[in-house]
Symmetry: none
């Protein structure tokens, strides 16, 4: 195959993959938002077949011939096409190790499992979800062996979410966090807690929706290209860099929940919308990895969104939208309330300080599950034991315990550590950003354009053009979790007068 | 290929086609409901590729080999597989008869024409649309020759929308309608009209949404399998027989608009939900033809929904939902208001009595256009002449005349007659239904289960297992348009005291 023909074929193949991703995303989005309750079956059949077709393209002769032709012309490829070929080669290699029937059956399983998990969580019925989870773990252990038989299964899975990260790296990472954060959390626990009662006054959904609109405006999210919906569990879905959707969940007795979901998902959306158009409809489109993605969402949510200058900037609007609820509250009291640190049960509602310990518990359970040291039936007991040990809390039921997250039902094992890594990357980015410019002055005026510009320059625009490690190096320099623990120590020492 | 292998391949191919239809439907639904404004481009790229993949399956070697193998085993096929093979053979034949370059050029033309038509309608500028329409007519005449060179071109096109229907059949059909309905409409026009002002009081959207929920309940639409959304133009979309969506549009100054959209689309949904599971995920899934589909939607909308017993049954709930707006209105006044008949300009807003004449005008123009007896430049003049002759109205401009419908710009010639046929089928079904049971007693108590059961038995369950003509024969016996004109004559004679 001539180079010109190979490049055309490379483009065609990637656009096809884009179309299949788009189709599957639309079905998932529909299933999670407006689809009637008992419609998972037909969607599952379609998703299974689409996954099969995608698999066929990935493992077919056209792909092989194209990649071989590109390899033969390796020296002539520009950076863009070289990276596309590299990523496709890797994906093909991983996929060809999974038999097509297993791949299709797995797609159907995750669709069904999401439905079962939703019902199991509603009724706090782990027994209902258990058979699905057993199958999911079984598949993932098998897939890990296909991905890289030389690695421990969990290392092989971790590598799928954050290239280059393994248990050795994470054991060390979490050990630093444990050493630095556990005493900090303990010290905080001995201090008086700020009043948070006003966060739980009655906040009507309609007003909260308007507040979401305002927050998206502050984040600079163009509503012609970024929609917002409502789901049980907030998420971000990107069709392409001109079509991104975020979702949130409104609780009328909790103002902060949706507020920080919107800012968090808005951070993910910001990243997706800022990726350079040159990688549109290719395998390099979208954010480069879960960890880097979480670094962005958590940067906007915690480092910016829970900062004093940001809250002072949005406070006038909040007072206007919720005059009765916030009439007797000050920005400073609000700042302290949304930064209250206290061990709790639910990861997604946990505070910036304790969040990484929730992640650490999931890391340890996944490591044991996939490693074979823990049986699925023992997950609730182990979950509850670890929550008691690290966070000192008693788990009342599985809905507030091991059924709280959607990840496993979607087949994601090895994803959780990315949250904690993202937090750590973000803190280090802040340190570098502060060297380059006045970060907080504009934030205090409700202007985030300089932050978005910095992150776009260092992170967003590349999409998958750089590897995750290159992006992290680009924005952070050499990774060091001490930036993260230093950031938390400084913030909480001031907040709690330690 | 062995029979067993051919049957497996037949099933696989159909499930793939189902998956592609489902994917495209999900993207259309998203685009029409929740997608942000400026996201059509990326969706268009995906939809184009999915259509190409579908075309590849339809015209590929696997399909050919499977159909050939089934043909070789024709005598051994059961009814289900024989019908599937018959439908697929026909679709493949029609698809492969159009040269690929013409097919692509035509796709570009319809895409462009839709845009030109929209602008032409906005400015009531037929001259702007005329060159597109000329090309569209030219292509359709040529395609008709590809479809079936032995038929008159318009007959070949009609056969694509309603198998077995041709000009001979329709000339007779519309001639009966013309003879019976034109004098009836004239007589109605000489009588005083009922008051409809209360339909245009202020009806808040939120209350109308609750009314929709109630109407869906009355129609027996299981919300776990049938969703309702909101779009500019109401439609029904079926993913499969366990997942159907309808949409409506709420106008706060028009209660009847959404009410009858919900019942109309609910009729389409009823059909889709009642198709037998044995044809699920095959080309026989879903309603059998446009005409039969319209017979069901119009049956529920007009024959049931605009009947006195139905309105009396839902009246208490309406009074409860709209106490201020309907406090001084009776069920009888409401019945008369929603059955007001009056010649008008716009087909989609026309009443039950005059609707078929709008369709007849389009039929006559299409017949002359495709047959070569009418030049495109003469369409506006002919349109206006026919509206004056049949409906007695003067067309003020082409936006309210021959530019009002989107069908021609989308390349649909031969589609319109299905609307009038559907109305006529429904009236004849009613006559047969009344022979079998007490139709109106239960309707007066808000119970439609006997109607749905009858229609499911005679029409719905078959899906595409029978041909459209067989379904019509099954429910109507020998088709006779006099049932329809008798039904309208009886209804409007009583309403207007003729």
């Amino acid at each position: 195959m001539e180079l010109k023909q190979a490049l055309q074929s490379l483009e065609d193949i990637q656009r096809k993959l884009y179309a299949y991703n788009t189709a599957s995303s639309a079905l998932y989005l529909d299933g999670d938002t407006v689809a009637p309750r008992d419609t998972a079956e037909g969607r599952g059949v379609a998703l299974g077949i689409l996954a099969g077709e995608q698999h066929r393209i990935m493992t077919g002769p056209e792909m092989r011939q194209t990649l071989d032709a590109l390899a033969a012309h390796e020296g002539e490829l520009d950076r863009l096409h070289a990276r596309q070929a590299e990523e496709l080669n890797r994906s093909v290699r991983q996929l060809t190790r999974i038999p097509a029937e297993e791949y299709m059956a797995y797609a159907q399983l995750t669709n069904q499992a999401s439905d079962v998990w939703r019902r199991a969580k509603q009724t706090s019925d782990f027994a209902l979800f258990r058979p699905c989870l057993e199958k999911l773990v079984e598949y993932n252990r098998r897939f890990a062996g296909y991905y890289d038989p030389d690695k421990a299964p969990y290392d092989a899975l971790l590598d799928e979410y954050e290239r280059g990260v393994d248990m050795g790296f994470l054991d060390n990472f979490f050990s630093v966090l444990r050493q630095r954060l556990v005493p900090l959390i303990k010290a905080v626990g001995e201090k008086p807690q700020p009043d948070v009662s006003f966060l739980h006054r009655h906040y009507p959904v309609e007003q909260q929706r308007r507040f979401s609109d305002y927050l998206m405006e502050v984040l600079g999210l163009d509503r012609a290209h970024c929609g917002i919906g409502e789901t049980e569990h907030p998420f971000t879905l990107n069709f392409n860099s001109k079509d991104v959707r975020i979702t949130t969940h409104y609780y009328e007795d909790d103002l902060a929940s949706s507020m920080y979901s919107v800012i968090h998902e808005g951070g993910h959306a910001r990243y997706e919308l800022d990726v350079s158009p040159e990688v549109e409809y290719t395998v390099l489109a979208g954010g480069v990895s879960m960890g880097v993605h979480e670094s962005q969402s958590r940067f906007y949510e915690n480092i910016i969104g829970r900062s004093r200058p940001f809250i002072e900037a949005v406070w006038p609007k909040m007072r206007k939208l919720f005059p009765e609820q916030l009439g007797d509250v000050t920005a400073e009291r609000f700042y302290r309330a949304v930064n209250r640190a206290q061990p709790s049960l639910i990861r997604t509602e946990s505070d910036e300080l304790t969040n990484s310990l929730h992640v650490m518990i999931r890391y340890e359970i996944e490591k044991a599950l996939i490693g074979g040291a823990l049986a699925v039936k023992d997950v609730p007991g182990e979950w509850n034991r670890l929550y008691k040990e690290y966070l000192g809390v008693d788990v009342p039921d599985d809905a507030h315990g091991c059924l709280q997250d959607s990840h496993w039902s979607g087949g994601s094992f090895g994803y959780f550590p990315s949250y904690a890594l993202g937090s750590a990357y973000g803190a280090q980015m802040l340190a570098n950003m502060e060297k380059d410019m006045d970060v907080w002055g504009p934030v205090g005026r409700g202007d985030l354009t300089h932050i978005t510009a910095w992150l776009t320059e260092k992170v967003h625009r590349f999409g998958g053009l750089l590897t995750p490690a290159q992006v992290v190096a680009n924005a952070c320099g050499e990774f060091d979790p001490a930036y993260y623990t230093d950031y938390l120590t400084k913030k909480y020492t001031e907040l709690y007068s330690l």
